[in-house]
C-alpha cells in the first residue's frame, strides 16, 4: 500500500520523525518498505493568474500570456490549446526544475521573451493513469495567486510504499498504519469515529442474504447527489495512494476504503430497478457484465448482489456496468458489506480480476468496522456531494461480534523468544500496541482489538510483542539439543561419486527436470514409463518430468559445442521421475578429446573412453565385474551400445549417440551413459577388505586365437574364467586383429592370462596344463584355435 505521510499526519504527529527514520523503523519492526519518494519533485511553482492572452506573431499555435504570479507579472509563451484568459494556472518560475531534470529558464520562443512555463499535471510528474488532462492544469478560482502551487494541489507529499503481507490485513488501511507507527514510536493517536446526522428520508431498501458467504451487509440510501470533481486535497490523496480520481462519489468510496480498509460500493439507485437487495451465490454458467465492460461467466463460488431478480454487482470484487454511478446520478445506495475471503479469492483468481476491493476482502476484514465505514462515507458525501442521507441503514449482520482474548504467560513469551523481558517491559509494549489486557501474576489475558482480526493465537501475540521489543535485541544462542550429525552412507556415496568424477575430469551440470513431452523418451532405456506431465505447465518445453538425465546433457553438449567448446565431458546426478517413484540416476556425456593433448597426439574418444569411466567408478566403489551386452535403443548407435549388468540386474547403459540424432543437435561422436545410482550403491562394497600382498610375482601367458568375428571378447573371457581355477588372476584382450593372414569372417584375439597362487610359486607344469585345458575348451565351445 502507498501511504501518504500528509494523510498519516491527520492521525499522528510525525513532526519529530524524518521519513527516513520512519522507513527504517517500519522496515525493521513491521513490514518491508519498498520505496520512499515524494509525490512530485517539482519545486518553485506558484499559482498564477492569466491576465491577458495574445496570439504569437510568428506561430499559430503559441500564445503570449501575461501571467500575474503575485510579486510580478510575467510574460509566458504557452502552446496548450486550453489556455485562456482569467484562468488560475500552475506556473514554473525561471529557475524551477521539473521532474526529469527539465530546467525552466528565461528564453526566447520564436523571437518573443518567455519567463517561465504554465504546467500540465504530466509536467509535474503526475502519471497519466491518474488523470485524463491533455493540456495545462487549470486550478479552481479559489486558488490564491502567488501561493506555492504544489501545496495548493496537495502534492507536497511523501509516499511510503509498503509491501503488505497476508497476515497484516490492517495494513491495507491508513488507520492501520497510524496505529502501527504510533506503537513503533510510542505516539499519541487521533482517529475519530464517524458521526453524521441523517435527514428525514426513509430508506426504501429491504436487504437479505441467501448465502453464508456474505455475513453482513449495510446499505445507506441518499438523494440530492451532485456529481462533480472532488476537492483538490481528496484528489491528491487518492493519487498519492495510486488511485485515479473519478468523481466525488466514487472518490469518497475509495477514500473511505483507504482510510478504514473497508471497501464500499455505490449503486445508482435509479438504475437498480427495485428496492430490494438479495445476496446469493451465482448459478453455474450465469453471465454478468462488470463495470469494466467485460462479460463474465460465473460459477457457484461467486457472490452476486442482486436486485431480487438480476445481478447488480459481483460481490466484493466489482460492480455491474448497468448500475454504475455516472455524471447523471442523483440517488444512490451505498453498500458496506463483508464477504467470505475464500469466495472472493476464488472469484478473483478464476476471473483474473483483482481489484482494491477483492484484495482487501480476500485477506479478511475487521468485521466490526463495516458500519463505521459506511457512516464515514455518508459524512463525506453530505459534505462534498450535497447528499441527503436516510436516517435508517438497511442491514443484516450475522457476525458473532465476540471479543477475542489471548492468554500468554511471561515465561512462555520468554521461553519462545529466548528473551528476558520482565512484567513492566511487557506491559509497556502492550500499552504502546494499545492492546487492552489484564494480568494475573505472570499471565496476561489480552483482548485483541477489532482492528486486528489477524490476532488469534498466543503466537500472534508473541510476534507483536517480539517485533515491538525488536528481535534484533535477542541474544545469539545455539540450540541446547545435543545430537549427532552426519551424512547417511548413501549421501556420502553421492558426494564420493561427484568427487570421483571430478577427479576423472568430468564437470557436473544441473539442468531442468521439466522438458518437452515430445522428447522425454528420446534417450531412455525403459520405454514403458508413463512420463509425469504437468496439468498447468508454463510452456510445452517445460511440461514433462524427465525419465533420464541424458536429455539435459545433450542440450549442454549442443550449447557448448555451438560456442566452440569441443571438449564436453559432463555428468549430472538427477532422477527418473514417475508418479510413484523417483529413482536417482547418474548421466554422463563425453564429446571431443578426453584430456586434450594440444600439440601432442590425442587418444581417441570412443565407446571405450566412457566405458573406462564407468569401470573406474566400479573399481572405486569396489563392485563385482560388470557384463556389457549389446543392445538396440532408439537414437543410439545400433552397434556401439550396451546395457550394463551385474548378476542379471541392469545397472544402466552406455553407448554412442546415433549419428542422425546427433546431427539433429549439431553434434557428432557423442558418447553417453546412464547408471542407476541406487542399484549401483546396492552392489558397492560398504567397507574395505584386506588380502595379504603376495610375496611371489604373478606369471603371465599370452595366447593368440583365431575365431569367428561375431564372437565377443566378453564371451571368450567368460569361457576362460569358466575353465580355470582360482589361480587365474585375470585375463585381458591386448590385441584385436582382422585382415591379412586372417581368413575373412574371422578375427584374431591376443589374450594375456595372469596366474597367481596364494600358497606358493606356481609350477610351470600347472600353468601349462591349465592353458591346455583352456585352449581345448575354447576350441570345443567356440571353434577358436591357436594362431
Amino acid at each position: 500500500m502507498k501511504v501518504s505521510l500528509n494523510w498519516l499526519s491527520d492521525y499522528i504527529d510525525l513532526s519529530d520523525i524524518t521519513p527516513e527514520q520512519l522507513k527504517h523503523r517500519f522496515t525493521i519492526q513491521s513490514q518491508e518498505v519498498e520505496a520512499l519518494y515524494p509525490l512530485t519533485t517539482a519545486k518553485n511553482l506558484v499559482v498564477g493568474h492569466v491576465v491577458t492572452l495574445e496570439a504569437h506573431p510568428d506561430a499559430d499555435k503559441l500564445k503570449i500570456c501575461s501571467v500575474d504570479v503575485g510579486r510580478e507579472t510575467l510574460q509566458i509563451i504557452c502552446g496548450a490549446p486550453n489556455v485562456a484568459a482569467d484562468q488560475r494556472v500552475v506556473v514554473a518560475l525561471p529557475g524551477a526544475v521539473l521532474p526529469g531534470g527539465f530546467k525552466i529558464e528565461n528564453t526566447k520562443i520564436r523571437g518573443v521573451e518567455s519567463s517561465g512555463m504554465i504546467c500540465s499535471l504530466k509536467e509535474l510528474g503526475i502519471d497519466e493513469k491518474y488523470h485524463a488532462e491533455t493540456g495545462i492544469h487549470v486550478l479552481p478560482e479559489t486558488a490564491k495567486v502567488g501561493e506555492d502551487a504544489i501545496t495548493v494541489l496537495g502534492f507536497d507529499d511523501i509516499i511510503l510504499d509498503v509491501d503488505t503481507k497476508p497476515d497484516r490485513p490492517e495494513l491495507l488501511s491508513m488507520a492501520g498504519f497510524a496505529y502501527d507507527i504510533a506503537a513503533l514510536f510510542d505516539l499519541g493517536i487521533n482517529i475519530d469515529a464517524a458521526d453524521y446526522q441523517g435527514d428525514d428520508i426513509e430508506n426504501p431498501f429491504k436487504i437479505k442474504t441467501e448465502t453464508e458467504a456474505c455475513p453482513s451487509y449495510y446499505g445507506a440510501y441518499m438523494e440530492n447527489i451532485t456529481i462533480k470533481p472532488s476537492p483538490l486535497w481528496l484528489k491528491a490523496r487518492l493519487i498519492a495512494a495510486g488511485i485515479r480520481p473519478i468523481n466525488n462519489v466514487v472518490d469518497i468510496t475509495n477514500y473511505v476504503m483507504l482510510e478504514t480498509g473497508q471497501p464500499l460500493h455505490a449503486f445508482d439507485y435509479d438504475k437498480l430497478g427495485s428496492n430490494e437487495i438479495v445476496v446469493r451465490l451465482a448459478e453455474a454458467g450465469e453471465r454478468f457484465i462488470t463495470l469494466d465492460e467485460k462479460k463474465r461467466t460465473l460459477n457457484k463460488d461467486d457472490i452476486l448482489i442482486t436486485n431480487g431478480e438480476s445481478p447488480v454487482a459481483l460481490g466484493g470484487v466489482m460492480g455491474g456496468l448497468d448500475s454504475e454511478v455516472t455524471t447523471d446520478t442523483k440517488r444512490i445506495l451505498l453498500e458496506s458489506a463483508t464477504f467470505k475471503p475464500r469466495n472472493i479469492r476464488r472469484t478473483s483468481q478464476r476471473l483474473d480480476l483483482k481489484s482494491e476491493s477483492s484484495t482487501r476482502f480476500e485477506k479478511g476484514l475487521n468485521t466490526e468496522g463495516t458500519l463505521n465505514a459506511l457512516k464515514r462515507a455518508c459524512e463525506l458525501l453530505i459534505k462534498y456531494a450535497g447528499a441527503k442521507v436516510s436516517k435508517d441503514i438497511a442491514s443484516f449482520d450475522h457476525h458473532k461480534h465476540e471479543k477475542r482474548t489471548i492468554e500468554l504467560s511471561l515465561s512462555k513469551l520468554n521461553g519462545v523468544l529466548g528473551s528476558a523481558l520482565d512484567l513492566a517491559e511487557t506491559k509497556d509494549i502492550l500499552r504502546r500496541l494499545r492492546f487492552p489486557y489484564t494480568v494475573d501474576k505472570e499471565i496476561f489475558t489480552d483482548e485483541a482489538p477489532a482492528r486486528r482480526p489477524d490476532l488469534i493465537t498466543y503466537q500472534d501475540l508473541i510476534e507483536e510483542i517480539g517485533r515491538i521489543y525488536d528481535y534484533n535485541n535477542l541474544p545469539d544462542t545455539l540450540p541446547k539439543t545435543v545430537s549427532r550429525g552426519g551424512l547417511t552412507p548413501y549421501q556420502l556415496f553421492k558426494r564420493q561419486i561427484r568427487h570421483a568424477l571430478n577427479g576423472l575430469g568430468l564437470n557436473e551440470t544441473i539442468t531442468y527436470s521439466l522438458i518437452d513431452k515430445q522428447h522425454v523418451h528420446d534417450l531412455s532405456r525403459i520405454k514403458d514409463i508413463d512420463p509425469v506431465t504437468l496439468a498447468n505447465p508454463l510452456s510445452e518445453i517445460h511440461s514433462t518430468l524427465i525419465v533420464t538425465p541424458l536429455n539435459g546433457l545433450i542440450e549442454v553438449a549442443a550449447y557448448n559445442v555451438n560456442r566452440r567448446m569441443d571438449h564436453v565431458h559432463v555428468y549430472e546426478l538427477s532422477k527418473r521421475y514417475t508418479v510413484d517413484k523417483e529413482t536417482e540416476l547418474l548421466g554422463m556425456l563425453m564429446k571431443g578429446p578426453y584430456h586434450n593433448h594440444y600439440w601432442q597426439e590425442n587418444a581417441p574418444t570412443n565407446f571405450f573412453t566412457i566405458k573406462g569411466i564407468i569401470e573406474a567408478l566400479r573399481e572405486r566403489f569396489m563392485l563385482p565385474k560388470f557384463s556389457y551386452e549389446n543392445v538396440t535403443l532408439d537414437n543410439y548407435h545400433p552397434h556401439q551400445t550396451a546395457v550394463i549388468k551385474i548378476d542379471g540386474t541392469i545397472l544402466g547403459h552406455v553407448g554412442k549417440l546415433h549419428p542422425t540424432y546427433a546431427a539433429d543437435h549439431d553434434l557428432e561422436d557423442v558418447f553417453i551413459a546412464e547408471l542407476d545410482l541406487e542399484a549401483f550403491y546396492a552392489y558397492a562394497a560398504k567397507d574395505n577388505t584386506y588380502e595379504t600382498v603376495l610375496r611371489f610375482p604373478s606369471v603371465s601367458r599370452d595366447i593368440a586365437l583365431v575365431l569367428d568375428e561375431n564372437i565377443t571378447a566378453g564371451t571368450i573371457l567368460e569361457s576362460i574364467h569358466e575353465y580355470s581355477t582360482t589361480i587365474l588372476k585375470d585375463a585381458h584382450v591386448f590385441d584385436v586383429y582382422q585382415g591379412e593372414h586372417i581368413e575373412t569372417g574371422k578375427k584374431s584375439l591376443a589374450i594375456r592370462l595372469r596366474f597367481e597362487d596364494k600358497t606358493g610359486t606356481l609350477k610351470t607344469k600347472t600353468i601349462d596344463e591349465m592353458v591346455k585345458n583352456i585352449l581345448e575348451a575354447l576350441k570345443k565351445e567356440h571353434d577358436a584355435v591357436l594362431r
Binding site: 522496515t27 525493521i28 519492526q29 513491521s30 518491508e32 497476515d167 497484516r168 475471503p341 479469492r345 521461553g415 519462545v416 529466548g418 493465537t457 503466537q459 517480539g466 528481535y471 535477542l474 541474544p475 545469539d476 544462542t477 545455539l478 540450540p479 541446547k480 539439543t481 545435543v482 545430537s483 549427532r484 550429525g485 551424512l487 549421501q491 558426494r495 571430478n502 577427479g503 575430469g505 568430468l506 564437470n507 557436473e508 551440470t509 544441473i510 539442468t511 531442468y512 527436470s513 521439466l514 509425469v532 504437468l534 496439468a535 508454463l538 518430468l545 550449447y559 567448446m565 565431458h569 555428468y571 532422477k575 521421475y577 508418479v579 523417483e582 584430456h595 593433448h597 594440444y598 600439440w599
Partner: protein, 362 residues
C-alpha cells in the same frame, strides 16, 4: 750370463733400463696424441690393440727381463707394469669421455620446449549449487544436524495443508505452483521433507535437520526468476528451542558464508508455517554495511527467511505444541551464490556454459 764380464753386465743393464724407460716415454706421448683425436669406441679399440695388445711394443719389453739379473727383475717388471697401467687408465678415461659425449649428444636430441602446453588433465568440478549445498551441509553437520531428502513430486497435503496453507489460503498466491493432478504437484519448497521427518519421528524425539533439494514454482524464467531452483531448509524442534537459538544459528550461517565480520538483522515477515516469522538480512560484504549499489544503499542484503514453527504445523506433524517448539528457516541457494559471487543472471546455473561451471572449483 757367464759370457759377460761384470762391467759388461752393468753396461747392458744401464742400456736396457735407459732404453726401455725412454721408449715408454715416447710411447706414452704417442698414445696421448692418438687418444686426443679419437672420436668413437672403435677407434679406441684399435688404439688399445696398438698400445696394449700382444704385439704392442710395451709387451715386447718383458722379453728383456730374462737378460736382467735376478735382483733387477722386480724393479724392471714394476716399471713396465706401471706403464701398462697408465696406458690403460688413459684409454679408459678416454672411453668414459667418449661415452659421456655420445650420451650428451643423444640427450641433446631429446631437448623439449619446456614452454609448450601440457595435456589438459584439469579436474572437473562440482556444480556451484551443489558446492554451496555441501558447504552448508558440512556447517550444520558440525552442529549436529542430519541431512534429509525427499521426493519432488509431492502431495498438496504435505506441501501445503500440513504447513498451515489450506486450500484458498491467501499465501498460496505467493507461490504459484506447478500441478500434476488435483492433489499432486512439484514441491514449491523443501518444507514437506520437514513434515515427513516429523511424522516419521512420531512426535517423540527432538528434530535437528536440514533439507536441501530442487523446488519448483510457476514462474517465467528471467534474470531473477527460475521455475526450478534450489532450497535448503532447516528445522529444529525440541522442548526448549528459542528464537534466540535461531538467531545464533543463522548468525553462524551468515558468518560461515560471508565472512567472520558479518552481522545479521531480523525483520518481521510472514510465512504461514512460522510465527513469528522474519526475513534475515546480512550486512553487505561489499560496503561493510555503509551502503552501496549492491545492497541498494541499505547496507544490508536479504539472505533467508525464518521463524518459530507455527503450532498448527507442529500439531499436524504429530508434535504436541504444549511440549515442543522450534524454528525453521529456508535459504535460496541460487540467491546465495548470486550474492556471494556477483552472478547476474539466475539462468546461468541451468545453462551449464562450461566457461561458467568451470570457474567454481571449491
Amino acid at each position: 750370463m757367464s759370457s759377460l764380464s761384470c762391467e759388461d753386465f752393468f753396461y747392458l743393464l744401464g742400456v736396457i733400463h735407459v732404453n726401455v724407460k725412454e721408449k715408454i716415454n715416447t710411447l706414452e706421448k704417442k698414445l696421448k696424441a692418438a687418444l686426443a683425436s679419437v672420436e668413437n669406441q672403435a677407434q679406441l679399440q684399435e688404439i688399445k690393440a696398438e698400445f696394449l695388445g700382444k704385439k704392442a711394443e710395451i709387451s715386447q719389453f718383458m722379453k728383456h727381463m730374462k737378460d736382467l739379473p735376478d735382483e733387477e727383475r722386480p724393479a724392471f717388471g714394476q716399471m713396465v707394469n706401471e706403464a701398462k697401467k697408465r696406458f690403460s687408465d688413459l684409454i679408459e678415461a678416454q672411453r668414459e669421455a667418449i661415452k659421456k659425449a655420445e650420451l650428451d649428444a643423444l640427450l641433446r636430441k631429446e631437448t623439449v620446449d619446456v614452454t609448450l602446453d601440457a595435456p589438459d588433465y584439469t579436474l572437473g568440478s562440482t556444480h556451484i549449487l551443489n558446492q554451496i549445498i555441501e558447504e552448508i551441509e558440512d556447517l550444520f553437520i558440525g552442529m549436529g544436524y542430519l541431512i534429509k531428502e525427499g521426493p519432488e513430486i509431492e502431495t498438496d497435503e504435505l506441501n501445503f495443508e500440513k504447513l498451515n496453507l489450506p486450500k484458498d489460503h491467501p499465501a498460496r498466491d505467493m507461490q504459484d505452483s506447478l500441478y500434476i493432478g488435483n492433489e499432486t504437484l512439484l514441491r514449491t519448497h523443501t518444507s514437506p521433507v520437514q513434515v515427513r521427518t516429523m511424522l516419521a519421528y512420531g512426535g517423540e524425539k527432538p528434530v535437528k535437520i536440514i533439507c536441501p533439494g530442487k523446488v519448483y514454482r510457476r514462474d517465467d524464467d528471467d534474470a531473477t526468476h527460475s521455475h526450478q531452483f534450489t532450497q535448503i531448509e532447516g528445522l529444529v524442534v525440541d522442548k526448549d528451542t528459542t528464537m534466540s537459538d535461531m538467531k545464533g544459528t543463522l548468525l553462524a550461517v551468515a558468518r560461515h558464508l560471508f565472512g567472520p565480520d558479518r552481522e545479521i538483522r531480523f525483520r518481521p515477515d510472514y510465512f504461514p508455517f512460522t510465527e513469528p516469522s522474519v526475513e534475515v538480512d546480512v550486512t553487505c560484504a561489499n560496503c561493510d554495511g555503509k551502503g552501496c549499489n549492491i545492497c541498494k544503499q541499505t547496507g544490508y542484503i536479504e539472505i533467508l527467511g525464518a521463524g518459530m514453527v507455527n503450532d498448527k504445523v507442529l500439531k499436524m506433524s504429530g508434535y504436541d505444541p504444549k511440549i515442543y517448539q522450534g524454528f525453521a528457516f529456508g535459504i535460496g541457494v541460487e540467491r546465495l551464490a548470486m550474492l556471494k559471487y556477483g552472478i547476474e543472471d539466475i539462468r546461468h546455473f541451468y545453462t551449464n556454459d562450461l566457461r561458467f561451471n568451470k570457474q567454481f572449483k571449491r
